[in-house]
């Protein structure tokens, strides 16, 4: 059902397009909508036919209020944060109110039209928190979670009815007879019947939907049990019978709704996470129209437009440089850590970052024509492959519903034969079988564990986007890492500072402070921490694409690229300082800083017996260095994106279950090919939809925990299935011989549901 719908969405169009990969953005609207779909699709449902309503798909209508802005705050976690942020923002002029939502890690601000998101982000940063603007229009869906409220309301009604009917039932069980019993049964009927009609609707609807396509979903026996129990009880009540199952019908509805609600909550959290990521970038490009520079959404760019990209900006489209020289950072696309030179005629791909000088690009591919679509297709294929993964719940439901129906109908037939055609007895017994098989424990078995596990992972900073991700994660036995941006921060730091003579360092610090190039920024910061006072360099001037030069005591000094300084380039990332007067140029090497937790995660995975592999597009030097530092024996450098995917495929063909951790566009294909994919939240938009789990923070250490928790939760799910099967093994024979009473049904149902939920909570 769901998988088919999504593949149809990703129209397989225009494949033969050149390599450059775009970032998303408004241009990514197709991609943002495309990959977002499988998360909204009911793929992770507890059973194949549990497509309980088209999950909030139609809820996008809520228009965004212009004065309302929403920011993602990954750092808020405590009461003190609320106390700092809310009054801090409300003190600003123009801000009417600010409300922090700690569950979603967001703040929503009501402000006058004059207040811009930029002002507020700056204000939040002054208060000490990281903030990202979110597209309020995209978010409106989760803000008004009607589906969730609807389920909760039905649950409330079912709970109310359950408690009241139970009071009356207890009286009947403890011996009320004759007129009293009949009165109690009638009152129970008056409470239970409307409740079942109202609260049972999600089940009836999805049972009907699956019957229409000739399938026996999990909801068919559930609906049958609820309807049969209610109607038989009504019939028995009318004829002053001894047994009425009103309490069972209502209890069944309540427990199943609880399971359904948990399932919905996990999926809603995943969906809101996905939307949050999609809403993170609000991309615009500056286009030259005539002599004017105007800002337009990336989606409106056309081939041939001239686009200006300032230093520090990211290329919004694929294009060729027409004016300006600079250096570009390609690490997100290729994994190279060395910046590359860009001048007139250099082709650039969307997603690369302009470092030093302003550039003008002529657009060669934009929007739908760019390779964005190929990316979306690729992700779509991966998503489709993953939705085909049959979860444990699906398998259980597939085994469960035919068995229940067969047993119940056989009981009906056999008792018809034994009693010589007593319809009342036969129907009573077959209904008792349906009620007592306890689908409620089965309905809770998976959602309870998944909710518990994803809550635990959320607190560790991992967001699960797909319901089956945990189960797939539990099977993993090989982990493939990307280097740049995944195991490292993607931000270079000078190494070997002791080797630099203090005087040279002072000159370098002075020059570095004049540039916004990441190497220079990092060098200047290192000089400050080392307590080096910058030398009095004058006439500082940045030469785009080359470096910084200035004058010191009448000599020209330069800091920048090797060729520009007349030095031989070293095989590592480095900047070069030349001080003239025949002194040899000095190389200042840089190395990427490790991401926090990188050592812990590799050690942790190896301790768990995982095969750890490092695949990087970067040069052999830095990769070997990193592999040595982390103790990874199996590494490969200079790997092209296609080769990464091929390597992952090869591993899977060998029978390994591969977890891929990566962030760049060069990883996207590999992420899509792997059994499970994890990417940091800093990853490019194309990589995020291809991954099942997103790391919210900078720390990668939780990945090792995630694997452990995943294995544990799969074990719990299996235990839960075993528990509910055990109850059935005990209770079904009792029901079959006609000894089941409403009391027994109530006991079996509540005991199994409670044990299953408690077992889920044992997750550590």
């Amino acid at each position: 059902m769901a998988d088919g719908a999504f593949v149809a969405d990703a129209e397989p169009e225009d494949a033969p397009l050149p390599p450059p990969f775009p970032t998303g953005g408004r241009g990514a609207a197709p991609s943002a909508a495309g990959p977002a779909d499988p998360w909204t699709a009911p793929a992770a449902s507890a059973c194949p036919a549990c497509a309980v309503a088209p999950l909030a798909l139609a809820q996008g209508q809520a228009a965004a209020d212009p004065g309302r802005m929403v920011f993602s705050l990954p750092g808020v976690h405590c009461a003190a944060c609320i106390q700092t942020l809310e009054p801090g923002l409300e003190r600003l002029s123009g801000v009417r109110s600010a409300r922090v939502n700690l569950s979603l890690r967001r703040v929503s601000v009501e402000a006058d039209p004059g207040v811009t998101p930029g002002d507020l982000i700056a204000a939040i940063e002054r208060l000490g928190y990281e903030a990202h603007e979110l597209d309020a229009g995209l978010l409106s869906v989760t803000e008004t979670d009607r589906q969730g409220r609807d389920l909760l309301m039905r649950m409330g009604v079912a709970f109310f009815a359950m408690m009241n009917v139970m009071l009356l039932s207890v009286a009947v069980w403890s011996g009320a007879s004759d007129a009293t019993r009949d009165t109690f049964h009638w009152i129970s009927a008056a409470i239970a019947l409307p409740t079942v009609v109202f609260a049972g609707q999600p089940f009836f609807r999805s049972a009907w939907a699956s019957l229409r396509v000739w399938r026996l979903g999990m909801d068919v026996p559930i609906s049958l049990a609820i309807i049969l129990a209610s109607s038989i009880s009504l019939y028995e009540t009318m004829h002053s019978g001894h047994h009425a199952y009103f309490d069972a019908a209502v209890m069944l509805t309540f427990f199943l709704l609880a399971g359904r609600y948990l399932d919905h909550r996990t999926r809603a959290a995943a969906r809101s996470a996905a939307e949050e990521l999609a809403a993170l970038e609000v991309p615009r490009a500056r286009v030259l129209r005539g002599d004017e520079e105007v800002e337009v959404p990336v989606a409106e760019l056309a081939v041939g437009d001239l686009v200006r990209v300032r230093p520090g900006g990211r290329m919004p489209v694929d294009g060729v440089v027409t004016e300006g020289t600079s250096e570009v950072d390609r690490s997100l696309l290729t994994g190279e850590s060395l910046p590359a030179f860009a001048g007139p005629g250099t082709p650039l791909a969307a997603g690369e970052v302009n470092l030093t000088g302003p550039l003008t690009l002529r657009v060669t591919a934009a929007g739908r024509d760019s390779s964005l679509h190929r990316m979306a297709d690729l992700v779509a294929v991966a998503e489709a492959a993953r939705t085909r993964y049959t979860s444990l719940a699906d398998r259980a439901a597939r085994a469960y519903s035919p068995i229940v129906h067969i047993v119940s109908f056989t009981a009906f037939g056999v008792w018809m034969w034994i009693t010589g055609g007593d319809l009342r007895v036969a129907v009573n017994i077959s209904a008792a079988v349906l009620i007592i098989t306890c689908p409620c424990a089965l309905g809770l078995a998976v959602p309870a564990v998944i909710t518990s596990a994803s809550g635990r992972l959320f607190r560790k900073g991992l967001l699960i986007k797909q319901g089956t991700a945990l189960e797939r994660l539990a099977e993993v036995d090989a982990v493939v890492f990307d280097k740049t941006g995944t195991l490292t921060m993607g931000a270079p730091q000078p190494t070997d500072l002791e080797a630099i003579p203090p005087r040279a360092f002072a000159v370098a610090a002075a020059l570095a402070s004049a540039s916004a190039h990441p190497l220079a920024v990092s060098l200047a910061a290192a000089a400050r921490t080392a307590g080096i006072r910058p030398a009095p360099v004058t006439d500082l001037r940045e030469v785009p694409g080359m470096g910084v030069e200035g004058r010191l005591e009448g000599r020209r000094v330069r800091l920048g690229r090797a060729e520009w300084c007349g030095a031989d380039p070293a095989p590592v990332t480095a900047t070069y300082l030349c001080r003239g007067e025949g002194r040899a140029p000095l190389a200042i090497p840089f190395a990427d800083r490790l991401r926090p937790g990188a050592e812990a995660v590799v050690a942790g995975l190896q301790a768990q017996g995982m095969r750890v592999i490092l695949l990087s597009g970067d040069a052999a030097g830095p990769v070997a260095d990193l592999a040595g530092r982390l103790g990874i024996a199996d590494w490969q450098a200079g790997v092209l994106p296609g080769e990464k995917a091929a390597r992952v495929e090869a591993l899977r063909a060998e029978g390994a279950h591969v977890l891929m951790v990566g962030d760049g566009l060069n990883d996207t294909a590999a992420l899509a090919a792997a059994q499970v994919a994890v990417s940091p939240a800093s990853a490019l938009e194309a990589a995020r939809p291809a991954s099942d789990i997103v790391l919210r923070g900078q720390d990668v250490a939780p990945i090792a925990d995630a694997l452990r928790i995943a294995r544990q939760s799969v074990r719990r799910i299996r235990e839960n299935f075993a528990l509910s099967a055990l109850y059935n093994v005990v209770a079904v024979p009792v029901a079959l011989v006609g000894l089941a009473t409403p009391l027994l049904a109530a006991l079996a149902m509540s005991l199994s549901s409670i044990t299953v939920s408690l077992n889920a909570l044992r997750l550590r």
């Binding site: 009461a79 609320i82 106390q83």
Partner: protein
């Protein structure tokens, strides 16, 4: 046993009142941010006097 004619409606009424309160809270968005609500009671803002 006549007491039942009073007790049963009373119990239903009380339960119904609880249900109505639940509906009201749900509609007002009281369940939108459970974690935040748990933390908000730890704030010291209104310790001296309630929000005016």
């Amino acid at each position: 046993m006549e007491i039942l004619t009073i007790l049963i409606p009373v119990s239903l009424l009380l339960g119904g009142a609880g249900l109505a309160a639940f509906f009201w809270a749900l509609k007002r968005g009281q369940f939108d941010d459970p974690e935040g609500n748990a933390q908000r009671i730890l704030r010291t803002d209104y310790d001296d006097k309630p929000k005016g």
